[in-house]
Symmetry: C2
Subunit: 686 residues, 2 copies
C-alpha cells in the first residue's frame, strides 16, 4: 500500500497542475488574504536575515517579533544565534505598528496589516501590534525553499479580517486536556489568525479549574484533573503573546453536576452527587430560587473575573431539561409566587440574576442560544449552536451573536462542509447593515466526548483551518479545490508547531496492531472515516463513558480521508472521460490493493483484540474493491453486469455503506458511481 | 519506494522468523535480563488493572508507580481515570521494596529486582526503590496486545545490572539543548535502565548554567542560552524520580574560553575573549599559577556543590594544548620555581589544587583520562576516552574508571560496533578481581558539534540502547541479530515517550524538498549514512561553526540505515545460495527503484538549494544500482562481466564509496560483493 500512497501523491500533483490556479504558482496562504499582488523576484532568507522595529516598540510587539524569528529559524533549520532584531536601517524586514494593541485584547481591535516584499527587503505595517502579529504569520507562510536558499516571494498584501471574533472552543470537562496540549493548539490558532480561545472549563463530567474560594469544586469535582490558577494565568499570557483572547465558560445552571459533588446545596435536587461518567443531558441543575446560589456565584464569578482579564464571561446556559425543577415543590412554589410560567421562564430569571453578577464584576455575559430572552440587556452576546436564523433573530432584537452551528468539529464533517457555512448566509443575509454588524463571527467547537490528549489535535486540525479562512477571508473566497490544496500546506506547517494531528496517527496504528507491520491496517485506515454527526454515540458497541479507552481504529482514523477524496476525484475524471491511461492504471492499482488487503490483515487481526472488530470492515473493502474492478472491466470492454448483476452489486455496496466498527468506507460512493456508469452503458447499448 | 519499504518490512519478518530465537516468541526486552524463564498464559491488562504497594512506601516509590501507570496508560491508550494504586490484597500487580533508596542516589546501590507474572497476578520485589524502578521498566516492555486485550506474558525474571555506572553524557555547550529535550532523553534513559546523566555544561562555545556568584559566566558566555538554577533543580528532580543521577561537568583548565568572556583574569593569556564559534582544541586555558584562579574556583565549585546533590563532580581536564602556558613568561617562571617540567606537570599541579577544592565541598572528583597522575587521591574517578588499556592502567594504580572510548555517539558508528565494545575486554580482561571492581561501567558521549534540538534524539537513539544493554546485561549477551531485532522494538517504545529520533526525520526531509513530495529524496535518504568518525569536520564544504545551519541531508539522515542493513543481509543470503525467488525478486525491485530514482529526484532538486548538493550522490546511486542489476543478471545467466568489465565496475564502485555531500551510500559494499561473486563465477567457469 505504500506504493499506493506514492501513486496518490503523484496523482495529487497531477490534479494540482491541472487546476487553472496552478498555472502560475501562488503562495499557499491560509486564510487567503483580502488582497494580494504578486511581484517578481525573491527576498533571500539566510542566517543574516534580521528584523528592525520602527516606531513605538512595546513589549508585546517585541515578543511577537521574537516568536516570529523563533518559528522562522525552526522552519528553516537555522541556529538560534542568527537572525537577530537589529536597527531598522540595516534590517531585511522592517516592522511598524502605529500603536500598541490594548493591554486587554478586545473584539474589534484593528487587525489589518500591509505587507510588501521585494528582492531588496520587506516591510510590514499595521495600525496595531495585533495587525503585525497577523502579518508575521503570513510571512511565515510565504517562506519557501528555492535553488538559492530559503526565500520570500516578492508580493504586496493588504489584509484584514472579515469578522472580529474568530474562535475555537475546547471542552476540557468531558476529557481533561493538559496544558501543553492546549498551548500547542494556541500555536495552531495563531498560525491561522484565530483570536479567541473559548475554554469550556466545567460540565457534568468535571470541574477543571482551581477555585480558592470554593476548593471543593476542583478537589471533589475533577478526579484531580484540573488546572491551577497559576497554570491558567500561564495559558492566558501564552495566548496573549499570540494575539488570542481567552474566554472562560462555566456552564450553568445545567451541565453542572461536577459542581454539586463538593457543593450539593447548589443543586435543585437532593444529593449526594458524583462526577458524571456518561454523555448526554442530565437532570441536575442549580437552584435558581435560593439566594445562597447567587451568593455563591457572586463570590465565584468575582474570583474568576479577577483571574481572567477578558471582558467576556461565558455562562453556558444550554440544555437545562428542568426535571429537577419540576420535581421540587419548593421551586414550583417559587415559580408560582413569582409568576414564572415555565422552566424557561425560571431559567430566564436565573440568567437575569447571573447577568447582574457578571456585570457587577465588570464583565459582559455570553451564553448559548437558550439564554436569549428580551429582558436581558443588549450588551450580552449569544453563541448560536442552532443556526444562522437564531443568530439573525438575535441581531434583529439588538443582540450580538456568534455562529457555532456548522462548526462542531466533533461531528466529523469534511472540511468542505464547514467551509461552506457562512455566518452571514441564509436568514442572516437579509439583515440590515446595522444588524449585520452584530454578527461578530464564529467559533468552532471541540466537544470532547471522543477525544483524548492523543487524538484531539487530529480532530481539530487541519479542518479548523478551513473554518479560520471562512471567518477571516472575504466572503467570495469559496473555491473548495483551492481550499483543499492550501489546507494540505497549512497542515504540514502545523507540524512545525508541534501539533500532532499528523504524527499521532502512526503510534495509534502501531498500538492497534502491536509492534508488527502496520501496512495492511494502514491501507484500510487511510480510506475510512469515523461515523458522522451523533451516530458515534448511537452505534457504540459498549455504552460510551469517560472510562472507555479511546484506542480503537475509530479513534485513530482521520476525520477526513484524503486518499478517499483523491480516489473519488479520479473516478470523477474517469466518468467524465478525462482520465488518461495512467489514471486508469492507478485506479486499478488501488482497487487491486484493497481487494487483496484482507489476506494480509487477517493474520495480524487474529493477534489483536483491537483489530478483531475491523475484520468485517476489511471484508467489505475486499467486496467493494472487487465490484469496482469488475465495473472497470465492464467499462473497458463495453460490457455490462446486466440488470440483475447490477442490482446485486448495488445491494452489496449499500450494505458496505453501513458503518462497521463505527467506521465508514469512503470509497463506496465513487464505486457506486462506477457501477452505475457500467450499468448505464449497458442500458445505452441495448 | 514505498513499495520497497513495505517489501523490506516483510523481509525483516522473514529474517526474524528464520532466526532460531524466534521459533518460540520471546519478549523484546532491552536490556536483556540476567535471567528469565517464560511461563504459560497471560495476565490481562485492562482498565481494572491496579497496583498495590506492600511494605514501606516512600514518596519515591509511589512516584515510580504513578509514572509507571501513566506510561502504561499511554502505551495502551487508557483514560487517566483508571488503573489506580490500591490495597495490595486487591491489586493485580504488587510492588515491594525492602527499603527506600538513598536520598542522594549513589553508584553501587542495589538495583536488582525479581519479577513474577502469572495469569492471576504479578509481583515485583526489590531490595530498594531503584530496583523497583528498573523492574517497572521491564514490565512496560513486556506489555503486548493479544486477542483478548493488552496483556503481560507469564514469566519469571531475576535481574540486576552488570555495572553500577551506566551513563549518557550530553554536551550542551557546543549547541545548546533546551530543558524539554533533555527531559525526554532522561525518559529514554530510564526506559533503558541507564542511571547517570553527565551534563557537559561548559566549553569554549558556551557556559550554560546560571551562576549567582559569577553571573558574567552565563551573561557573557552563553548568548543568552543557559539554564537557570531553578531549571537545573527541576531537571535534577526529574532525573531523580527516574533513578538517574546528574553529574555536572565544568571543563577546566582548557575548553574554557566561554568563562573568559566575562572573567578574562582567569585566563593564561591576555584578553579580551569571545565565545568560540569553531570546533576543535583551542589555546585559552585557566592560569594555574594565580591564587585568584583557585579563589574563584573555590567559590564557584562551592556554589555548584550546593546545587547538584550528586557526590561526583566532573572537572573535565581534557585536551589542554598548553600554548598559552608556554607563551606566558610568568607561568614559565612559576613552573621553573616549582619544579614543574612540562605543561602536563602544570596541569597535574592544577588538578591537585582543584581536587582539594572539590573534596572540601564534599564531592569526589571525576575527569577525563588526562587527569590521571599518581599524586591524586585514590577516590577520584577517571573517564576514559582513550580505551580499555587506559582504564586498566588506572585500575592497576588503584583508581576507579569509566569507559567512554567506543561509546562516542557523534562518531556515527553502527549500533553493532558500540555493542561489541566491552569495558572488561582487552587490557581490562587481565585485571585481578579487585582491580576489575574499579571499573564502574561506561558512559556514552553525545558531543554536539553536529546536533541541534531537532536531530539530537536521532543521534542518541536507538543506538544508545545497544550501549545500555552492554552495560546492564551479562557479558555473554552478544548476539547482534537479536540485539537489532530488540533495538527496533525499543526504538518504537521510545516513540511513546516523546523521543523524536524517528519522527523528526519526516519534517527534516520535507524542509529539504520544500512542501512537495519527499518520496525520491526518501528513497535515497533511507540508504545513506553520515560520514563516520571525525570526517564530518574534514569533509565540510564550508568551515563548520556553531553558526552553520544543521538542515542538510547529512543532518537528517539516520546514523545507521536499516534499509541498507537489510539489503546487505539479502545479498548475503543470495551469495550463500539461500535466497528464494521472493528474495531475489526483492533485490531486483530495490535495485530498479534505486536505478530510476535520479529521474524523479532531479526535477525536485532544481528547486531546492538543499537538494543540489545531493545530485552527485543520486547519480552514484543510479550507477551503483545499474551495476548491481548487471551482476544479478550475470549471476542468473551464469555469465560474467569479464575481467575488464569487472575491473571497471569495481572502479565505479570504489568511487561511489567516497562520501558525497558528507554522506555514504550503504549499498555499495553489498553490491561490491555481488560483482565479485559474478566475477568469481566467471573465474570458476573458465
Amino acid at each position: 500500500m505504500r506504493t499506493l500512497l506514492f501513486v496518490s501523491v503523484i496523482l495529487l500533483c497531477a490534479l494540482a497542475s491541472a487546476s487553472p490556479d496552478e498555472t502560475e504558482p501562488q503562495p499557499s496562504l491560509m486564510p487567503w488574504p483580502a488582497s494580494m499582488q504578486m511581484g517578481t523576484g525573491n527576498l533571500v532568507i539566510d542566517t543574516s536575515f534580521s528584523v528592525g522595529i520602527s516606531g513605538p516598540a512595546d513589549t508585546h510587539l517585541r515578543q511577537s517579533v521574537d516568536l516570529f524569528l523563533s518559528d522562522l529559524r525552526h522552519q528553516a533549520g537555522m541556529p538560534p544565534l542568527d537572525m537577530k532584531v537589529t536597527d531598522p536601517s540595516q534590517a531585511k524586514l522592517v516592522v511598524h505598528a502605529d500603536h500598541a494593541s490594548k493591554d486587554v485584547q478586545e473584539p474589534g481591535e484593528d487587525e489589518s496589516y500591509s505587507l510588501t516584499i521585494t528582492s531588496a527587503g520587506a516591510t510590514l505595517d499595521a495600525p496595531t501590534t495585533l495587525g503585525v502579529m497577523r502579518g508575521l504569520q503570513t510571512l511565515l507562510q510565504l517562506v519557501t525553499i528555492t535553488a538559492d536558499g530559503f526565500a520570500l516571494p516578492a508580493v504586496s498584501i493588504q489584509d484584514q479580517p472579515r469578522f472580529p471574533w474568530r474562535g475555537l472552543m475546547i471542552d476540557v470537562a468531558r476529557h481533561f486536556i493538559p496544558l501543553d496540549v492546549l498551548k500547542r493548539n494556541l500555536d495552531g490558532m495563531a498560525a491561522l489568525k484565530l483570536n479567541v480561545f473559548h475554554w469550556h472549563l466545567s460540565d457534568n463530567q468535571g470541574f477543571r479549574l482551581e477555585s480558592k474560594e470554593f476548593p471543593k469544586l476542583q478537589e471533589m469535582g475533577s478526579d484531580g484533573l484540573f488546572y491551577t490558577q497559576e497554570q491558567a494565568r500561564d495559558l492566558i499570557a501564552y495566548a496573549h503573546e499570540r494575539g488570542i483572547r481567552v474566554v472562560p465558560e462555566f456552564d450553568m445552571p445545567g451541565h453542572s453536576t461536577a459542581w454539586f459533588v463538593g457543593y450539593p446545596e447548589l443543586a435543585s435536587g437532593p444529593g449526594p452527587y458524583q462526577i458524571e461518567r456518561k454523555w448526554g443531558v442530565f437532570d441536575p441543575a442549580m437552584d435558581p430560587t435560593e439566594e445562597r446560589t447567587y451568593k455563591f456565584l457572586d463570590k465565584f464569578i468575582g474570583e474568576m473575573a479577577g483571574l481572567f482579564p477578558d471582558r467576556y464571561f461565558h455562562i453556558g446556559g444550554d440544555e437545562v431539561n428542568g426535571k429537577q425543577w419540576s420535581a421540587n415543590p419548593k421551586i414550583q412554589a417559587f415559580m408560582r409566587s413569582h409568576g414564572l410560567k415555565s422552566n424557561q421562564d425560571l431559567q430566564a430569571y436565573f440568567n437575569t440574576r447571573v447577568q447582574k453578577i457578571v456585570s457587577k464584576h465588570g464583565k459582559i455575559m455570553i451564553g448559548w442560544d437558550e439564554i436569549l430572552r428580551p429582558d436581558l440587556p443588549k450588551d450580552i452576546v449569544v453563541q448560536s449552536w442552532r443556526g444562522q436564523s437564531s443568530l439573525a433573530d438575535a441581531a434583529k432584537q439588538g443582540y450580538r451573536g456568534l455562529l457555532s452551528y456548522g462548526y462542531y468539529l466533533d461531528l466529523i464533517w469534511p472540511a468542505s462542509r464547514h467551509y461552506g457555512i457562512d455566518p452571514m448566509s441564509d436568514a442572516a443575509s437579509n439583515l440590515s447593515p446595522e444588524e449585520k454588524q452584530r454578527i461578530l463571527g464564529g467559533e468552532a467547537c471541540m466537544w470532547s466526548e471522543y477525544v483524548s490528549p492523543e487524538n484531539i489535535d487530529s480532530r481539530i486540525w487541519p479542518r479548523m483551518a478551513a473554518i479560520a479562512e471562512r471567518l477571516w477571508s472575504p466572503q467570495q473566497v469559496t473555491d473548495v479545490n483551492s481550499m483543499y490544496q492550501r489546507l494540505e500546506a497549512a497542515s504540514q506547517r502545523l507540524d512545525w508547531l508541534g501539533l500532532t494531528h499528523n504524527s499521532s496517527y502512526w503510534p495509534m496504528l502501531r498500538r492497534i496492531t502491536g509492534s508488527s507491520d502496520i501496512s495492511p491496517l494502514r491501507v484500510m485506515a487511510d480510506i475510512v472515516e469515523p461515523v458522522k454527526d451523533y451516530s458515534r454515540e448511537e452505534t457504540a458497541p459498549v455504552e460510551p463513558t469517560s472510562l472507555v479507552p479511546l484506542n480503537r481504529l475509530v479513534d485513530a482514523a482521520r476525520p477526513e480521508s484524503a486518499t478517499g477524496r483523491n480516489f473519488a476525484a479520479m473516478i470523477n475524471l474517469l466518468l467524465a472521460g478525462q482520465a488518461d491511461s495512467v489514471t486508469k492504471e492507478e485506479i486499478r492499482t488501488w482497487l487491486i490493493r484493497w481487494q487483496n488487503n484482507q489476506s494480509e490483515l487477517l493474520p495480524i487481526a487474529e493477534r489483536s483484540f483491537l483489530l478483531k472488530e475491523v475484520i468485517p470492515l476489511s471484508q467489505s473493502l475486499t467486496q467493494v474493491a472487487s465490484i469496482g474492478l469488475q465495473a472497470m472491466d465492464d467499462l473497458d470492454r463495453g460490457e455490462s453486469p446486466g440488470d440483475a448483476g447490477k442490482a446485486q452489486e448495488l445491494a452489496v455496496l449499500q450494505q458496505a455503506q453501513q458503518q462497521k466498527a463505527q467506521l465508514l468506507l469512503t470509497i463506496v460512493p465513487p464505486i457506486q458511481k462506477l457501477v452505475e456508469a457500467a450499468g448505464a452503458h449497458h442500458s445505452a447499448e441495448k
